[in-house]
Symmetry: C2
Subunit: 237 residues, 2 copies
């Protein structure tokens, strides 16, 4: 079974949703036969690279509130994160462009380290205050995930995996995805948002029960006309 | 859409069924987006290679009938073949092992000539009285299909594509296929035997209407709990 998760490293609910989904997956009987793929989504593709600014400053400006009010507005998110064991530091988080981070995930995917790097990327962004648009920082994260630092830096420099990221984003558009995280289970069921582990588990179980491609003998209107066939017993009729 | 057809070059209903299916396909609106794949099936894997004997002699021996009676028994098949424009010559047909013929189809598949070679293989067997277990004859058929004769001969010599043929046959067993032709449309509907073009068309149309993978929002028992998400408008809630 395949679960695709459109998400962005600038999206707090994506990291929280990842943990809740993982809790569900741990209780899911089909876990061993389930492949999880993170797909690229940029909440703000226009964000500039570099130190694009602190999250609270951004919120204060966007909603015309004080920095104090902005801090208060993120405290609920920080608590939801803490409830699933995550440490969010919005005071140090760098609000920036995530395009290169998504490209690097595809480099990791090619080297069987996508799961590791995805987790490290979220942690870098939400916990460690890393500017994940910095190629230097990205190369360091790649190394921490067990990838070759030089090759990772080269892939970033050469604009590798641009096509893969764009393709995910185009598919998100085709599927009408306007917000993340967005979970698609076996291209059959969609779960939008950081739902509860219980709900993720229900969705996984439902898709699991229905996963077997059942081939039905086609019966035309009317009834079973019979077509000639040759059997393994050697008879043709 | 994908149609897989398990068939054997020793099976008269497979050639007749191929024509009837093609007639349906020509009237089918989704033809341009439909891939047709012939899958290997051996009605008699124990058949020896070489000149294993004439069909009528085989029938006479198997059913304890005279050659005259055997000839009469195939005349209905010959008429069904003629009705779809095929010329069957059971008097010259060579009843033999089809394993190498199936391997050669996979060689053709690799070189984008599977459709051409499949048709030539049936014609060689049913119309031209070719012994299709002869590697010399097979190489000639490959050349006639536009393939490189030397490479085809080498593939046969090297036992290439054995795995592919066996895999088709194992899958036939898993699917419970005991006779051919056997048509599987999009792994959803099965049509057994050389049915009428009308019935093939009905099955194609039904699968076509249902082909779009629809992703349904998963709703848990009870009702829509809402999970936090971040939207492209920049809001997280």
């Amino acid at each position: 079974m395949k679960v695709e998760i459109w998400s962005d490293f600038m999206c707090p609910f994506c990291y929280i949703g990842k943990r809740r989904f993982e809790q569900a997956l741990d209780q899911f009987a089909g876990k061993g036969e389930t492949e999880v793929i993170f797909r690229s989504f940029e909440l703000n593709p226009q964000a500039s690279n570099g130190e694009s600014g602190n999250v609270h400053a951004m919120l204060a400006q966007k909603y015309g509130m004080s920095l104090e009010q902005a801090r208060a507005s993120t405290s609920d998110l920080t608590q939801q994160a803490a409830a699933v064991g995550l440490s969010f530091n919005f005071d140090t988080m760098v609000n920036t462009n995530s395009f290169d981070a998504h490209r690097l995930i595809y480099f990791a995917e090619k080297n069987s380290k996508a799961a590791e790097l995805t987790e490290l990327m979220f942690k870098a962004s939400f916990t460690d205050g890393t500017n994940i648009s910095s190629r230097e920082a990205l190369a360091g994260l790649a190394a921490a995930a067990g990838l070759d630092r030089g090759q990772a830096a080269q892939a970033l420099e050469q604009d590798d995996f641009t096509r893969e990221v764009r393709s995910d984003e185009e598919e998100a558009q085709r599927l009408g995805i306007r917000g993340v995280p967005y979970f698609v289970i076996d291209r059959k069921y969609a779960v939008s948002g950081a739902q509860s582990p219980e709900m993720f588990l229900q969705a996984l179980n439902k898709a699991w029960e229905e996963r077997k491609p059942v081939i039905t003998p086609f019966s035309p209107d009317g009834a079973g006309s019979s077509g000639g066939a040759c059997s393994v017993d050697g008879d043709c009729n």
